[in-house]
């Protein structure tokens, strides 16, 4: 009787029976081996370990208790009585269970049917049907939820054991209610996607590696940076950048001027300008002569004088003079463009990074270690670089916190500047004085070696002693090293500039002399050639005159080549001085300090000579001025850029080696400013300054009459007019003449000035807006801070974390449960029963039978769903479904469905 009633109820309400059947299934699993075997095909959970079984059992327990709590009030008394009537014998219970099992199985089948075909006929009434529809929707939702959980399982910060068990549970659930539908496929697709994503990541990583490998000297510079800080590294980065620029210039000049001339131009010896004069031929191959860039080198394609003024050369009809002129201009054009562009980019970068200053130290602390490092040497470098970067930031921080006697500081700074201006004036006067004297010397005969080289000697002495003097004076100012470096750079720059311009003035004098000399020579040449012609004509008018050997032709001084040679000499001597200084001043000193220290009376390493620091300002300025020489000289000595490329290449390796082997890091390692725009600014200034003399000579000095691509023209730029007139159609020449009209140029310049003014105003406005926004962000941050103070931490992530952080309590609990279970199960009383019994005792004293324990929920659910108050009975489960702390003990197999729906 009782069994049939149970069967009825089971048939009536899908959900109730299903839930119940789950419970039953569970029970059987625990208790009845026989039935478990029978159920094999549905019961996938056999492989489960004890822990999870126990888990479920306990969850079910909890769940039942809750059910009762919620629905006790609505339970019908009659039912209770019925239940009370049921015979509590074990046999009966068993049979009940069996019956339930069968009904359950039937139900399962039905459900599957329902899922596969839209609606299978069932014996249930329409009322019940609607119920199960609703339930079905919920079930589906739940299955979706589970699936989602499965797919995001790998993102959960749980222990693997927990992940595995939760995963299994979810999978079982899904499998049970959805069959094996499409599960395998999804997995495969996922695996494929995963694989592709991994491949993509790996490819990106390899590509990044490849890219960094393609950047020359990246590793070298990184190594230097890790030991000497970003300021020293910034010099090497600047050097590398210079090398890149020079490589382009080299390509331009060699590709468009030197190689065409060598390949297609007239060969050596065909013209006077391409031949060593007879008087010099004897010594032209001597090393001492070649070392001075005389002899064969002077009459080679490396210098201006070698080029012929033939309009076109070779079968390509290559317009070499035109190309020469255009390349000379484009060297400056390209350099200007590249310097300004990189300045603009640097400025952009420095503003873009500007707002992220909130977490300097935190990020350094928590994100600076690279977990991919597996090589001890790299690790050492990394440790060094992290330490260095911390020190840099500390220096910055201390600097910003410092407030001392501001008046004293100001006084000292003014004093230092006065002293340095005195030094600069003194050195300027000294140079002026020496140059004046050298002019008088040059007019005198047989002067000594010192008198001849006085200017150079004085200038190198100044260059050697002034920078350390400036540095000593700068100690008074007590600037932050980064700002101090800028001051130092500026001061030495001013000193060097004096140097450079005295050199240029001397050169100018030289050129003017040469020009005067040229006029004389031109007449002589003219007369010689004429006389030669006449004499030959006089002897034999019919025979063509025998050509005069090109070596014998009298020739002018060719001031362009002289200027070129001056620059090349200067560059080469600069290279030598730099390298020797490094070798002696750094390497030998380091060796001395290192090895003599063993037998010296004081500590050399800590005491007086000690190791050298890397002189950033000196090196940067050396580089900048060297580049200025290259720019000035490259028009008159096309080969100069080639020499410079070699120089930069060797100095990269040499200086890297020297720094690593014989320098020590600065006492106060400081961070280079994010953009090295200061270096760039110096470079731009020197570029402009070197443009001036070159432009002056091109525009206002007449080219030599017998050497170079522009010989025979009044001015060098005539080559352009010539090309336009001869090679372009007439209207182009007309347009050109209009464009060159001052009436057009002056308005154009005005327009440009106006544009600059406007853009400047706009950029100022943007800057203000930017500052405003920054301020707002700062305020927001403050606000956020305050808000956080008030808000309690309800972050689920946090609770996950708490869960993780208490591993001992968590891991111990499952085995305990398992033990409990082991103790319990032999008694034949399932853990489910305990709360059940308690419940029933409260309801009716007769309760306590096992069968009753199972019937109870089913009865409850019969009436419950119609009220649609499913949610109401479960207010005590506010925690989200995936929550690791709360639900596990309270969750039955199918049960999480409810709290999920409730949310």
């Amino acid at each position: 009787e009782d069994g049939s009633e149970l069967a009825d109820t089971g048939l009536e309400t899908g959900r109730a029976s299903r839930l119940q059947s789950k419970n039953q299934e569970k029970d059987k699993e625990v208790k009845e081996d026989k039935e478990e075997k029978e159920d094999k095909e549905e019961d996938e959970s056999k492989e489960e370990d004890n822990g999870s079984q126990q888990n479920r059992a306990s969850r079910r327990k909890n769940y039942q208790r809750k059910n009762r709590d919620g629905k006790k009030a609505r339970e019908e008394g009659g039912q209770k009585k019925d239940r009370g009537k049921t015979a509590p014998t074990k046999d009966q219970k068993e049979s009940e269970n069996k019956e339930k099992k069968t009904t359950k199985r039937g139900k399962e089948g039905e459900k599957k049917d329902r899922k596969n075909s839209t609606s299978s006929a069932s014996s249930n009434s329409s009322d019940e049907e609607s119920l199960s529809e609703e339930e079905l929707a919920m079930l589906k939702e739940q299955v979706e939820q589970k699936k989602k959980l499965i797919s995001t399982m790998r993102n959960k910060p749980w222990r693997m054991v927990k992940k595995l068990s939760v995963l299994r549970e979810a999978q079982d659930f899904v499998e049970k209610f959805e069959g094996a539908l499409g599960k395998g496929k999804g997995k495969k697709l996922y695996a494929y996607k995963m694989m592709m994503a991994k491949k993509w990541v790996k490819f990106k990583r390899d590509f990044e590696n490849f890219k960094t490998q393609c950047i020359p000297w990246e590793m070298k510079i990184k190594e230097v940076e890790s030991h000497f800080g970003s300021s020293v590294a910034s010099y090497f980065i600047f050097l590398r950048w210079m090398y890149g620029v020079n490589l382009v210039l080299f390509g331009l000049i060699f590709g468009l001027v030197i190689i065409p001339e060598v390949l297609m131009g007239m060969p050596y010896g065909s013209l006077p300008r391409k031949t060593v004069p007879r008087a010099e031929q004897a010594t032209a191959m001597d090393f001492s002569v070649l070392w001075d860039f005389e002899g064969y080198i002077k009459y080679s394609a490396l210098f201006y004088g070698y080029y012929n003024n033939q309009r076109t050369i070779g079968w390509l009809k290559y317009r070499l003079p035109m190309a020469y002129f255009m390349v000379g201009i484009s060297v400056f054009g390209y350099s200007l463009m590249v310097v300004i562009r990189s300045m603009a980019r640097n400025a952009n970068e420095s503003t873009a990074d500007g707002d992220d200053n909130n977490f300097i130290f935190s990020w350094k602390m928590f994100t600076s270690w690279d977990y991919l490092i597996g090589n001890p040497e790299t690790a050492d470098n990394k440790f060094a670089s992290i330490t260095t970067s911390f020190k840099e930031s500390i220096v910055d921080e201390q600097e910003s916190n410092k407030d001392e006697n501001i008046h004293l500081r100001r006084f000292l700074r003014v004093l230092a500047n006065v002293l340095i201006i005195c030094c600069l004036c003194g050195s300027g006067y000294l140079i002026y004085f020496v140059v004046k004297r050298s002019q008088t010397f040059s007019k005198m005969q047989n002067v000594g070696w010192y008198e001849r080289n006085e200017v150079e000697i004085v200038m190198s002495l100044l260059g050697m002693f002034c920078p350390p003097l400036f540095e000593t004076i700068a100690a008074l100012e007590n600037y932050h090293p980064r700002i101090g470096l800028k001051w130092q750079l500026g001061r030495i720059f001013a000193l060097f500039l004096g140097n450079l311009y005295t050199f240029l003035l001397a050169l100018m004098d030289d050129v003017n002399e040469k020009l005067a000399e040229e006029d004389v020579v031109r007449n002589i040449t003219h007369w010689t050639l004429l006389g030669h012609h006449n004499s030959s004509a006089g002897n034999d008018s019919t025979v063509t005159p025998p050509p005069l050997d090109p070596a014998d032709v009298p020739r002018g001084p060719c001031w362009e080549t002289t200027v070129g040679i001056e620059f090349v000499r200067l560059t080469v001597s600069d290279i030598l001085v730099t390298f020797i200084t490094i070798l002696v001043g750094d390497f030998i000193r380091a060796c001395f300090v290192r090895f003599v220290n063993y037998c010296w009376c004081w500590d050399l390493e800590a005491g007086f000579p000690s190791y050298a620091e890397f002189d950033i300002s000196g090196n940067v300025l050396g580089l900048v001025f060297n580049q200025g020489m290259i720019w000035m000289g490259s028009f008159y000595a096309p080969g100069l850029v080639g020499i410079n490329v070699l120089r930069l290449l060797t100095s990269m390796y040499f200086q890297c080696w020297a720094v690593m082997s014989s320098n020590v890091p600065h006492a106060r390692v400081f961070k280079a400013s994010k953009s090295n725009n200061f270096y760039m600014g110096l470079l731009l200034l020197i570029l402009f300054l070197s443009l001036l003399p070159v432009a002056y000579t091109i525009m206002s000095l007449p080219p030599s009459f017998d050497c170079g691509p522009f010989s025979g023209k009044k001015r060098m730029y005539d080559v352009i007019q010539e090309t336009i007139e001869l090679d372009f159609p007439l209207f182009v020449a007309k347009i050109f003449s209009y464009v060159a009209n001052p009436g057009l140029i002056i308005p154009a310049i005005l327009l440009m000035v106006l544009t600059i003014y406007y853009l400047n105003a706009v950029s100022k406005a943007y800057q203000r807006a930017n500052a405003e926004l920054k301020k707002k962000m700062q305020m927001q941050r403050e606000e956020e801070k305050n808000k956080r103070n008030n808000k309690g931490s309800t972050n689920p992530m946090l609770q996950d974390l708490e869960d993780l952080l208490t591993p001992s309590t968590k891991t111990e609990s499952p085995p305990k449960q398992a033990e409990d279970k082991k103790i319990e199960s032999p008694n034949g009383t399932s853990p489910v029963r305990k709360p059940g019994r308690g419940e029933f005792q409260a309801g009716s004293p007769m309760a306590g039978g096992r069968g009753a324990a199972f019937t109870a929920p089913s009865q409850v659910f019969v009436t419950q769903p119609r009220t649609l108050g499913i949610r109401a009975p479960y207010p005590g489960q506010p925690r989200p479904w995936g929550h690791p702390l709360g639900p596990p003990p309270g969750r039955g197999r199918g049960q999480p469905y409810y709290p999920r729906a409730a949310r």
Partner: protein
């Protein structure tokens, strides 16, 4: 794919794939590496889920971890007993979380654990000092360390309790430009080809 591999059942492998960012092959490779560290302790057959744990000393000598200043903390964070010995499950978990595919949030949680030396769920000054000393090999002076720690707290501590809770940490780390790429252990083919 080993057709006849008997280390794991297919179900186990599938479960691992669902719970980690690894493919079948990589899981087998990880097992290989786990096995190699102690061939006489770790069984080749994992179908029965044996309860085997390797001590921290073995794990931190892996090439991926050897140079890491936080290797002990990493291993401790992933060990279930909190003392540094890892079962195979923990081992897989560690590599999964520290793999390139793991999301930032997950990494942040474990990073927080790693930096929380005394496991009080807060990164306090003592933790910061330890971190700093490990990062710089104790080359900073005491004043510098104090200064840096104070600055970190000042920057990242949102709720003003003088130590970093997870919310603070996450807020700070989520803005870091290169955090995700940095907390990665690469379990590379080259490193483990020997399996």
């Amino acid at each position: 794919m080993g057709n006849k591999q008997t280390i794991f059942t297919d179900e186990q492998l599938d479960a691992y794939q669902d719970c980690t960012f690894f493919t079948r092959k990589e899981i087998l490779r990880l097992h290989g590496r786990y096995y190699e560290m102690a061939p006489n302790v770790v069984p080749m057959d994992y179908t029965k889920d044996p309860d085997v744990k390797l001590p921290m000393q073995l794990i931190i000598n892996m090439p991926e971890l050897k140079e890491n200043p936080f290797k002990e903390r990493i291993v401790e964070s992933f060990s279930e007993d909190g003392e540094g010995s890892l079962s195979f499950n923990d081992f897989v978990d560690m590599f999964s979380v520290l793999s390139e595919m793991a999301p930032r949030e997950l990494k942040a949680i474990y990073a927080f654990k790693i930096y929380d030396f005394n496991t009080d769920n807060f990164i306090c000054k003592a933790d910061l000092e330890k971190t700093l000393n490990k990062l710089t090999r104790e080359e900073l002076t005491a004043e510098e360390i104090t200064l840096v720690c104070e600055k970190v707290i000042e920057e990242a501590d949102m709720d003003g309790d003088g130590k970093l809770g997870f919310a603070d940490f996450e807020n700070m780390i989520s803005k870091a430009p290169d955090f995700l790429s940095l907390v990665i252990l690469r379990e590379d083919e080259e490193m483990s080809e020997n399996h």
